[in-house]
């Protein structure tokens, strides 16, 4: 007999893993859809997820029609959750998840084993690191991911550096460029390897342009210098193959390099549970009920695919939570997947990857490169099913496209492309 059996199991109806905006909305929706036995597990000591360190405003423009700070946005959901008397376990981490939905959970004072009827995965994502993008050079101190630097500044009152260069134009990097400038640091520049920014246009304006911080596109860091603390970086322009062009290499003195080079959905638990992963999103493959390939395991928020706006995280997660409650309450009935959805020309990914066809749905998608005045077109074996015309399509901005249930009748395989 192994330890797993010896620790007595508790039984719960719906367990939500992660207490960021996705987990909060999922737990609330599960309760509101009739599930009385919801447990939300969060490894941090407070709820709110990544929002806790986002003290800038700009959250909730769609949902609340006002610009809230991250903690303010989270607080609206936390109050609602408390009002619904949903049980939460903070300072509690899910260590493992099996395909039959048994969770091993560790907290100060106890190792617990929980069997759940339905599990909602809402673990968010982590940042890509220097190691992941293979920047050559020495290993001095002063190289941080932008989110870690944000955590130090906003939650620990720690200043990580004075002369800053930023690699990658992801939103966190842009926000940190402004934040560090406001706190007296000198931000030399933001370097981006792509020909366009990977952050939201509004952040380019408000965080860089307003502070005269230059953004160099088609440029990357080729070497990190410094034996103790960072002494500077070498940067170079890249060609169309994204390889550095040697004779454009130049030295930029700085004591700090922030990396804002992408987020990776945190799907270790998901993989462990045997859930199929989409190689493009690095998140689970889901249907229009946000159920993964493993019955009873649902996924939403940044762990499903990286979002740029928290509002859509909340919307998506509420649906996932409601379906999880339905699944748990219905004696674990799964809907049949009758329609496949795949990305076509110009589209990087689209989600969900399968539909039941028995309900309206919203597709989330991202385009491969920026376009002006184009349409996103959904076809079923060549026949147009839905279309959305847009003035600006940008890889940094997630696109949502609604499809009515009537439009889905008779469909079998949808393709989403830029037309």
């Amino acid at each position: 007999m192994n330890g797993r059996e010896r620790i007595p199991a508790e039984h719960r109806s719906v367990v939500v893993v992660g207490g960021g905006p996705a987990g909060l909305a999922a737990a609330i929706a599960a309760k509101e859809h009739g599930c009385d036995d919801v447990l939300l597990v969060e490894r941090d000591h407070i709820l709110g997820g990544i929002l806790n360190q986002c003290i800038h405003d700009g959250f909730g423009l769609h949902t609340f029609k006002e610009a809230l700070s991250g903690p303010e946005y989270a607080d609206r959901f936390i109050r609602k959750l408390r009002g619904l008397h949903i049980e939460t376990a903070e300072g509690t981490i899910v260590l493992s998840l099996s395909p039959d939905r048994v969770l091993e959970v560790s907290t100060r004072g106890a190792l617990r084993r929980i069997e759940a009827d339905a599990v909602v995965l809402a673990m968010g994502c982590r940042e890509r690191t220097r190691g992941a993008i293979s920047i050559p050079g020495r290993r001095p101190s002063g190289v941080y991911t932008a989110g870690a630097a944000q955590n130090f500044m906003n939650l620990e009152n720690i200043m990580v550096g004075r002369n800053v260069a930023i690699l990658g134009s992801g939103d966190i990097g842009l926000i940190m460029a402004r934040r560090m400038t406001l706190e007296g640091a000198r931000v030399e520049a933001v370097f981006e390897i792509l020909p366009y920014s990977s952050g939201l246009p509004r952040n380019i304006q408000q965080c860089l342009n307003d502070y005269n911080i230059p953004l160099f596109l088609n440029t990357t860091v080729t070497e990190i210098l410094g034996a103790g603390r960072l002494e500077g970086i070498k940067v170079a322009q890249v060609g169309s193959d994204r390889a550095p062009i040697c004779d454009t290499e130049r030295f930029v003195p700085c004591d700090t390099l922030l990396l804002s080079v992408g987020l990776i959905p945190e799907n270790e638990l998901t993989r462990e549970a045997g859930v199929a992963i989409d190689p493009v999103t690095s998140g689970a493959v889901v249907d229009d009920r946000f159920m993964t390939s493993v019955p009873g395991i649902f996924s939403c928020g940044n762990v499903l695919h990286v979002h740029d706006l928290v509002d859509w995280v909340s919307v998506e997660a509420a649906q996932a939570g409601a379906f999880a409650a339905e699944y748990a309450g219905s004696g674990r009935r799964t809907a049949e997947r009758t329609i496949s959805v795949v990305p076509g020309a110009g589209v990087r990914y689209t989600l969900p990857q399968a539909l039941s066809g028995d309900q309206a749905c919203t597709l989330s998608l991202r385009v491969q490169e920026p376009w002006r005045d184009r349409s996103v077109v959904v076809t079923d074996n060549g026949r147009e099913v839905a279309r959305k015309r847009m003035m600006r399509l940008h890889p940094a901005e997630m696109i949502r496209l609604d499809i009515a249930v009537e439009a889905l009748s008779g469909c079998s395989s949808l393709e989403v492309s830029v037309g």
Binding site: T107, T129, G131, R138, E156, V160
Partner: protein
């Protein structure tokens, strides 16, 4: 004030720490002088972590002798010191007639050297040992193993300390003078003075410099860098056995290969590039590219996201690039310079050989000083070689119930608990850098490379150990983590 010892060891790498631990069996006053703020931060934390079997070295050479002996000593040593070791064996694979002939030669050579269990295996048997290996013939060496190299160095140092040896960290030896009444007077960069009857030079890449301080001028060290990639634990279990190509004549290393680590990662490397600066542990673009290409060739299932970091280590070669190859270890009790024990050119397999080198040094010290057994010597280091998360669930549940700090996970990638962080911070050597915590607790060595745990570790150190922002160093006094606080006065956490 001059601090007086019987034996001073210059350098706290695996060799110096092995010597200190061996000498702590005796009633001697022994001290290690290490320029870095912790032991093992030189080459000893930057290598493949392989215990070599010993068939690659010429019979009768010091290397052959010490490697085979050292390898044999490791099971007991690792058990006592709570160091991770895995006896996974190795296949050296031949692809053509020339290489097959070389394998036969290596087997004979190994047998003369006393390597146990060597066996030539054909294609089928090769496949049962390691699925997917191709080749005509392979030499299987069961005593080839993997070990935690920094784990071993730290274990040796802590056990030496527990048995009475002294460790002076952050002390760079700058001058050595023989004293009129015999013995050595040693000065460090901070102006501190030490004396001892016997001096052991275990300064690795700087061993030739230490020799020169003592007037010995015939040695030269040529730094030769080896770069690596570390791969995600996702791939753990695929490589069950070490697989190496047949070594090329005059090549400075054993060629690029995949090496599993005791913690479940895979290493790709090492390369071999001569350089001028013995501390230029950089990684270079071209080599990184080669390594990725080679890795993909060796294991097509490696995905771009599996590369979690890179690092490099530097070999202390005695041969310049124009000569190439290797020279035998220098392990000598200088006849011309009394009381100077010289350990120089300890490149691969120095990790494997370290305990045997130490035994040899002990015999040399005996010529200078009487060795009375240390009556309180205890070879066993307390604790466990296992991470908390590797222990059975039931045991973990009990420990968490007793000590809540075991229930709180600080490093999510490697599942390291708060108690393990606290233990690392309170390490007996008093090493206080972030890398010291990393090498002891394994926190920040996983796929997110500290993005998650470092802010949490910083919080623990500030709130529970009273550190201020200036106390946080990555690895040396010149690598501060922070430049101050955002708002004045807020040295505590705001949360």
């Amino acid at each position: 004030m001059v601090r007086m010892y019987d034996v001073l060891v210059v350098g706290g790498g695996v060799v110096g720490c092995s010597v200190a631990r061996e000498l702590s069996r005796f009633s001697l006053r022994t001290a290690v002088l290490e320029k870095e703020l912790d032991v093992g931060l030189g080459t000893s934390c930057r290598n493949s972590g392989v215990l070599h079997a010993g068939f690659n070295y010429a019979p009768g050479s010091t290397r052959a002798l010490l490697d085979v002996q050292g390898n044999r000593m490791m099971d007991d040593l690792c058990r006592d010191l709570k160091v991770k070791i895995k006896r996974i064996g190795k296949l050296t694979v031949a692809f053509d007639d020339e290489e097959v002939a070389e394998l036969h030669r290596l087997k004979e050579q190994g047998e003369v050297n006393g390597v146990p269990g060597l066996e030539l295996v054909g294609h089928d048997r090769m496949q049962t040992i390691q699925h997917g290996v191709e080749g005509v013939l392979a030499l299987y060496s069961p005593s080839s193993s993997i070990i935690s190299p920094y784990g071993l160095t730290i274990g040796l140092a802590e056990n030496a300390l527990a048995n009475g040896a002294h460790f002076h960290l952050g002390q760079r030896v700058t001058s050595i003078a023989s004293q009129e009444r015999g013995g050595w007077a040693v000065t460090t960069a901070s102006g501190d003075r030490f004396s001892a009857a016997v001096l052991v030079n275990a300064a690795g890449l700087f061993a030739a410099d230490v020799c020169r301080m003592a007037g010995i001028t015939e040695h030269e060290i040529y730094p030769c860098r080896g770069e690596y990639y570390v791969l995600d634990r996702r791939l753990d279990g695929i490589v069950k056995t070490l697989v190496y190509p047949v070594p090329k004549k005059n090549s400075p290393g054993l060629g690029i290969h995949l090496t599993p680590t005791v913690d479940g990662n895979l290493l790709v490397g090492p390369s071999a590039e001569y350089l001028d600066d013995p501390e230029d542990c950089a990684c270079s673009r071209d080599v990184m590219k080669d390594l990725r290409r080679e890795a993909h060739h060796l294991m097509p299932e490696i995905h771009v996201t599996d590369y979690i970091r890179s690092f490099s280590g530097i070999r202390a070669k005695q041969t310049p690039p124009s000569v190439g190859g290797n020279k035998d270890f220098v392990v000598e009790d200088r006849k011309d310079v009394k009381g100077f024990i010289n350990l120089l050119g300890i490149e691969s397999p120095g990790l494997t050989s370290a305990p045997a080198i130490a035994a040899m040094v002990r015999a040399m010290v005996e010529h200078h000083l009487p060795l009375a057994p240390n009556p309180t010597f205890n070879p066993v280091r307390p604790g466990s070689a296992l991470l908390f998360s590797d222990r059975p669930a039931e045991e973990r549940a009990d420990l968490i119930a007793q000590n809540p700090d075991y229930g709180e996970i600080i490093c999510r990638c490697e599942k390291i608990t708060k108690q393990e962080i606290i233990d690392a911070v309170r390490n007996p050597l008093g090493a206080r850098t972030m890398v010291s915590i990393k090498y002891r607790a394994r926190a920040s060595m996983g796929r997110c490379q500290g993005g998650f745990c470092i802010p949490r570790i910083v919080r623990i150190l500030r709130n529970e150990f009273g550190w201020s922002t200036a106390d946080f160093l990555k690895r040396s006094t010149s690598s501060p983590l922070f430049v101050g606080t955002v708002r004045p006065g807020g040295e505590g956490t705001e949360r």
